[in-house]
Every structure is written in C-alpha cells, then in structure tokens.
C-alpha cells in the first residue's frame, strides 16, 4: 500500500465554481478585481437561479463553491445560498471583507454549513486599510477574528500585497498568528480591473519583492504544521507566466452577478467573446460547448513561442486577459513571459519603477487613487 500517492486533482472536469454573488460592496478597494463596468442590483440572479446553478455545478463534478463578489454578505439571502450549495454537495468558501457581519450572523452562517471563511485584509494597520478601501474596516476585521475563534470552521486570512503595504508583512503574520487561522495568503495584486487602473501606484519594486520572499520563506519554516502560508508574487516579476485559472476552461467557471458564465474574472475585456447565461443554458452545456470556454481551450489558438514551447502544458500560455491588456491581442503569449517578444513592454513598466529608491516609497504621499465605485 502507498497512501502518499494521492494527489491534487487534475481531472478535466471543473473543480470549483466561483460565484460572484453581487458587485455591491461597502469597500472601494483600489485593486478590486471586478470589472470597471459593474452589474447593478436589479440585474442580479435570484435565490432560485443560484440554487439551480449549485445543483448543476455539483452534477458536473465540481467540488467547491467560492462565494465572492463584491461583498457576498451584501446578499440578504446569503444563509439560504450557503445552505443550498452545501446541500448540493459542494464545499463552501466565503471570501469576505467581514463588514456586514455581526456575531449572530456568523453563527448562522456556520450553522448553514459554511466550510471555510476567508477574511480579506487591506493591510496590518488601520491607516493603510482605510486608504486602500476608502472606508473604515480594520477594527471590524479584528472583531470578526475574535468571533471566528469560537467556531469550528477553517479560517484563512487574505492579505492583498502591494507597494504601499508590502513592508508590513511581519505585522500581518503577527495578526495571523494571534488568530485562529490555519492558512494565510499573501497575494500580490494582479493587474486587472481597478488594479490595472491604479497599477502605477500599486506595483512593488524588485527589492521589495525579494525582501518579502525572504520574510515569508522564514515564516513558512517557522510555522510549518501550524499554518499554511501561501504567497502569490506579481507576475510582472516572474520569468514565466502563471497558469491563469489553471488553464482556460480547464478547472474553473465563474458566474457573475447577472448570471453570465465566464472562464475567468476579467474575460469580459476580450473583444469578440460572447457569454452564455445560467438562466438560458445549463452549466454542463456551457462548460462543454460555450463559445467563450472553447475559444482558448487546448492549444489550437496558440501562437509562437507558445505553440512549440515545452511549457505549454505547464502554464497554458499564461493569461489571455493580460495579453489583451498589455499587447491588445488575447491570443498572444502572456507578455510577462521571458520568452514573449513583448516582454520589453513589461520591463519598461518595471524600469520606470526601479528608478525610485525603495526606502522612500513608504513615505510617498498618498497617491491619487481611483476608487472602485458601487454599481447602481
């Protein structure tokens, strides 16, 4: 017998459903991954539409549902949705700011079958959290951590990292260690949506990245067996692109508040893609046949250098939306790739930043942020 051969699933059936329950949010984070054009409340799917989608997701073999937004807790029917997803057989993750929450609502969420609570942080201190979110958030998050300790539920802290808070990683770790979290994610901002609009004020320097890597490597060793620590580096600094979404149409489906089904968060920016809606077609049919999911599946769409590259089954050509944003061609090799003929565009962006001495960056005056608005 050899029990250690069990592996992370790599089957071609989708693994998880990302459910953007609403675009409404009490925060206005400058790096929000939502599109610049948000769905209004009147367009949001009904409770019944979502319940049907969860059933279809489970039928399709999906294992997890990620409730996100916007702020998923802004949905008044959130308890019913958690219950329905869990009853369908899905593992239910809630990705939240923790804002529209009190102790009794948390208790009811846990009772409804919530498996995993992911609390997002904008920094280690109230000042930076307020600057980034455009509202007051930090104290409430610490209160939520206290309530969570009274429940048997998995807790992850999500710290979103960028130039203005990357020097606070030690303090962020201290918050995590003092909490009941068993997992902590340090995710550098990815440059889409609102983050792309604010990129020049968010992108960390190479030196900042190197020093954060060292800090987190030490922490991973020290906290082994206590906490899972995950770090997402900004791919502008990587040699090879990320396997965005685990490959287009390979592992994940995303339903936006209006019910359109997308292969990824940002896919709407790609010209010429059309999306099916869960109100019109079943999830299985969309997964298997939707034009948007077929568009960049497999390798037929690839150009050189991807087409003949050894890594094409590792990173699947990287991110289509990043290619769209940076070189205006969604079928191009992800320009962050060192093999891309367009890598010079990324280097030029980093080059401008490298001219600033890292030490002075924390003392930079508050940038002219473009804050995320709320949908109508």
């Amino acid at each position: 017998m050899n029990p250690t051969t069990s592996t992370t699933l790599t089957t071609p059936t989708p693994l998880a459903l990302i459910a953007e329950l609403t675009h409404r949010c009490p925060l206005h984070c400058v790096y929000c991954s939502n599109p610049l054009e948000l769905n209004s409340r009147t367009k949001e799917l009904s409770t019944e539409d979502w319940k049907k989608a969860f059933g279809e997701a489970a039928q399709l073999g999906m294992l997890q549902a990620d409730f996100t937004g916007g702020e998923p807790l802004a949905r008044p029917d959130i308890l019913e949705l958690v219950e329905a997803a869990r009853a369908a057989g899905l593992y239910v993750n809630l990705i939240t700011s923790g804002l529209p929450l009190d102790e009794s609502r948390l208790e009811r969420l846990v009772a409804a079958g919530l498996d995993h609570f992911q609390l997002s942080f904008q920094g280690a201190r109230p000042e930076i959290a307020s600057e980034i979110s455009g509202t007051t958030t930090h104290a409430q998050k610490l209160r939520v951590l206290g309530w969570l300790a009274r429940h048997r539920i998995a807790v992850t802290l999500n710290f979103v990292i960028h130039r203005r808070n990357i020097h606070q990683i030690e303090e962020m770790l201290a918050i995590a260690e003092a909490s009941c979290a068993t997992r902590v994610e340090f995710a550098n901002v990815q440059y889409y949506g609102w983050a792309f609009a604010n990129r020049d004020n968010l992108l960390p320097t190479r030196r900042q990245i190197d020093s954060s890597l060292e800090t987190l490597k030490r922490a991973q060793q020290r906290l082994r067996g206590k906490m899972r620590i995950e770090y997402v580096v900004p791919d502008y600094y990587a040699r090879f692109p990320k396997a965005c979404m685990g490959g287009w149409g390979r592992k994940l489906m995303l339903i936006v508040p209006s019910g359109d089904v997308l292969p990824c968060h940002a896919a709407r920016i790609i010209r010429g893609l059309t999306f099916d809606n869960v109100k019109d077609r079943g999830l299985r049919e969309i997964w298997e046949n939707s034009a948007a999911f077929q568009k960049f599946r497999g390798e037929d769409w690839m150009q050189e250098p991807c087409r003949s590259c050894d890594r094409r089954e590792v990173d699947f050509g990287g991110c289509r939306c990043q290619a769209m944003l940076l070189v205006n061609d969604a079928a191009a090799t992800d320009p962050v790739c060192s093999l891309s003929p367009n890598r010079n565009k990324v280097d030029a962006i980093l080059g401008e930043l490298a001219l600033k001495p890292a030490e002075t960056i924390y003392e930079e005056s508050r940038p002219a942020w473009i804050y995320r608005i709320n949908p109508a």
Partner: protein
Amino acid sequence: MTPDVNSKPRLAAGCRLNDPKQQPRVLLMPEKALRLNGPSLEIVERCDGRRTVRQIITELQQIYSKAEPQKVETDILGYLSLLHDQRALDFVAQEGS
C-alpha cells in the same frame, strides 16, 4: 514532524470527506482537494479523534496483512505527517481522553 503514536488524529476544522455517494472520494479542505485511493481513504476515515495513531496502524496492518507491517507503519506515519503539514489534521494528545 513524526506523529506521536499515542495521539489521536482528527480532521482539522474545515476539512472533511465528500459524501460517500460521490466518486471519486476526496478530502475537501481550504483551496485544495486530495483524491484518496484505497489506503489513504482508510486512514483518513479513521482520523476521528477517537482512535490513536497506534490503533490506526494496527487496523491497517490487519487490512493489508500481505504487506510488510513495518512498511505499513512507515507509510501511515509519513502520510499523517503530510496531512498535518497541510493543516488537514490535528493531533489530540492522549490525556483527557
């Protein structure tokens, strides 16, 4: 870390097996799903906070009686330690049971 054979492993908060009616059987956990083969499923099913590591080893040695008992023990200890590093398991100390 090698687990103490007298401790009682149980699945950590937010880690659970999927429904027995679903195939394949997987251990669901934050941002991960581990597919379980025969022996790994038999081990995880026994991480119930009541059995000690020693008991789990003995039971698996009986099920896999054709395998070398020492090998079974080493494999189980290795697997439990791997699950612990992924924060899928807690080891409840013997006392207070």
